[in-house]
């Protein structure tokens, strides 16, 4: 048992991290997703990791870094596909919003039993004026275009599994970034003549953030290892646990980070709200906290 990053995986993580710091810093993230960003990620091999011989654990490590950097776009849906691919999951309640519609080359539509594709250009409609997450534009798909079936229940299961894992990885990266933002601010900001991080009320919020993140990360890596080798665990339970805890870590850390930043935490300028809003968006992707808790319970 070697349940930690190998030397190669550390190099992979450091490589993608420095690439993102150089090419997609927060100033560019804030301008939103576009094709040039997608092309750069494609050239870096982000979407073709599996065909290039990497394992799921490697892919998870890369997606964790994408989440830390909060790179926008339909990155999970596009994994292993040609072109910018979006997704519409008909099993999730509420309005049928398609994310990033204007950028899409292809659209996957999921229901309870199969995968279909639809031509995104056949979807009429204009993006909502005020999306929850300013970096995730959404367009209501009032009526569904013609669907072409492309995958059966097995393919659907595989897609949901990979989606849950990569989304969990992305969320763990976000939870980690939120911890870093908060700790940096708590060391720097002074009140009552000393750094606010010396106050236990603040320190303990930060401590809980890092614990939550480490627990979620361990869970996510375990799910990745089980996806790589299903003989080492119960795949559905591992994936559900990972997505549940990662989502919860990102949301809770988002709220704690807002608190640690005080009034600054409620401003557009500080990045915290962008993370928190994305964490809420991602709770509607590949199973919510609630549905995954039910899935884990069903294994008991």
């Amino acid at each position: 048992m070697n349940f930690d990053l190998s030397d190669d995986q550390v190099a992979l993580r450091d490589g993608i991290r420095s690439l993102l710091e150089g090419k997609i810093p927060m100033s560019r993230v804030r301008e939103g997703f576009d094709r040039s960003m997608f092309d750069e990620l494609t050239n870096a091999g982000v979407f073709s990791l599996r065909v290039d011989g990497f394992g799921w654990a490697d892919a998870a490590i890369v997606y964790e870094e994408l989440g830390r950097a909060l790179v926008p776009g339909p990155l999970v849906w596009s994994f292993g596909r040609d072109g910018i691919t979006g997704g519409l999951d008909l099993t999730v309640g509420g309005t049928r919003y398609v994310e990033h519609l204007d950028s899409l080359d292809a659209l996957l539509v999921l229901d309870h039993t199969s995968i279909s594709t639809a031509d995104p250009s056949s979807l009429a409609g204009s993006p909502a004026d005020w999306p929850l997450d300013p970096l995730t534009p959404v367009t209501e798909a009032a009526s569904l275009p013609a669907l072409t079936a492309v995958g059966d229940a097995d393919a659907l299961g595989a897609l949901r599994a990979q989606g849950a894992l990569l989304t969990a990885a992305y969320l763990v990266g976000m939870a980690d970034a939120l911890t870093d933002l908060s700790v940096a601010y708590a060391k720097d900001r002074e009140q009552f003549g000393r750094p606010i991080g010396s106050f236990q009320a603040v320190k303990h919020l930060c401590a809980d953030m890092v614990v939550r993140t480490e627990v979620a990360r361990a869970s996510m890596y375990a799910a990745a290892c089980v996806l790589d080798d299903p003989s080492t665990g119960d795949l559905s339970r591992a994936l559900s646990g990972a997505k549940l805890l990662a989502n919860e870590a990102a949301i809770t850390n988002g709220k704690s980070a807002t608190q640690v930043h005080g009034g600054m935490g409620f401003t557009w300028e500080v990045d915290v709200h962008l993370y928190l809003k994305r964490a809420w968006v991602l709770d509607t992707h590949f199973g919510s906290i609630d549905t995954h808790a039910d899935t884990v319970a069903a294994t008991l």
Binding site: S6, A216, A218, H292
Partner: protein, 379 residues
């Protein structure tokens, strides 16, 4: 990165399963909760069986009766014994998980030869005398005095919350050997033979109604200097080595035990909201188990990670969450402690998890300051 156990690990697991299947049905019934003499006999008998079968001291050095096995097999041992509902360490807790590891790390050869094999065989039971009425979280402020008199320390003071104090053969004792220096610098770590004159043990009643721990009154107790582990006044450091020795696995059995509790509770949980909460608890425990594997991997590579600091904080909260859930599930079945399963007793017992061995507040301070580098509180 993978979760595969090696072939040798799986052989170990298979042998252990076979042994447990033979051994467990032959165990005598468990004694009454407050019959400490019988409890001691029962727990140490189990330890002796483990020792005879080669399952004691899995991570301890071979020359002192241990097995020097890789940490993965320690995890398998915990997994399998908990799953098979084998007895818990019980009264052997302090010896096996605290005093023993400290002696392994810091004891002299003679101390190791004398105590380690006895602890592993179940011949020697230990208790811990660290906390004092005035020194709990601020342990280093302790005031029990030890004054050197030739080959002895003369020890006077009071200890409290001493688990297994009434049956211990030896106590881990922290004493102040130099009152004139900064508080951390004047402490020494002694092995206290519990049968010395001048020691009085008064049991304390816990929320469970039983007497799991005791007060210890020490009145001019003459402890041989040869009982000191580590250098004089170096006791604070000695106390802190245990954690690294245990590779963060000290609380793992609690974790595995909680997973068993989840399985026991599951058939009783009908309400969908309760089931969802149970799923949540199970996911957290699975994750903490994964974190344990990560901690073990990192420390066996010689680079202990930050995860070891976090385990206790994480699992004690989850366990209490699970305890809350079990009471909600039981409704009025929960009005009797030993009525339906062990859930109510567990709920009570787990109240201590966020207090004993460093409260959760203190753990958060440690994570905040040592892991995240946040500034210390002004003194």
């Amino acid at each position: 990165m993978d979760l595969q156990y090696s072939e040798a690990d799986e052989v170990f697991r298979g042998d252990l399963r076979t042994w447990l299947a033979d051994e467990l049905p032959a165990l005598p019934p468990q004694p009454a909760r407050d019959d400490w003499t019988a409890r001691r006999a029962w727990d140490t008998d189990w330890q002796r069986r483990l020792f005879d079968a080669g399952y004691a001291g899995l991570s301890w050095p071979e020359e002192y009766g241990g097995r020097d096995l890789p940490p993965s097999q320690q995890l398998i041992f915990l997994e399998e014994t908990t799953r098979a509902r084998a007895p818990y360490v019980g009264v052997n807790f302090v010896g096996l998980l605290h005093a023993g590891p400290t002696i392994v790390a810091e004891g002299t050869d003679e101390q190791k030869r004398e105590h380690l094999p006895k602890i592993l065989r179940g011949d020697e039971v230990w208790c811990q005398g660290f906390s004092e009425p005035g020194s709990g979280s601020d342990l280093a402020s302790l005031r029990t005095r030890a004054v050197r008199d030739g080959d002895h320390y003369v020890v006077t003071g009071q200890k409290i919350w001493c688990s297994f104090g009434q049956i211990g053969d030896f106590g881990e004792l922290l004493v102040r050997t130099d009152p004139d220096v900064k508080k951390h610098a004047g402490i020494s770590w002694l092995m206290l033979p519990m049968d010395l004159p001048g020691i009085e043990v008064r049991p304390l009643r816990t929320v469970l109604g039983s007497s799991e721990f005791a007060e210890l009154f020490l009145d001019e107790v003459r402890v041989p200097v040869s009982c000191r582990v580590g250098e004089e006044n170096d006791g604070w450091r000695v106390t802190n080595v245990t954690l690294s020795f245990e590779r963060g696995t000290a609380f793992v059995s609690e974790l595995v035990d909680a997973m068993r509790l989840v399985e026991d509770l599951a058939p009783l949980v009908k309400d969908p909201a309760h089931r969802r909460e149970l799923g949540h608890c199970a996911a957290e425990l699975d994750a903490q188990w994964a974190l344990t594997k990560r901690n073990v991997t990192q420390s066996s590579r010689g680079t202990p990670g930050r995860g070891a600091f976090m385990m206790k904080l994480a699992y004690s909260e989850t366990r209490q969450r699970l305890g809350e859930l079990s009471l909600r599930v039981l409704e009025r079945d929960g009005l009797v402690v030993d009525g339906k399963g062990e859930f109510v007793e567990e709920r009570l017992r787990t109240l201590a998890l966020t207090i004993a061995a460093g409260t959760s507040q203190i753990q958060r301070n440690i994570v905040g300051e040592r892991v995240l580098g946040l500034p210390k509180e002004p003194k």
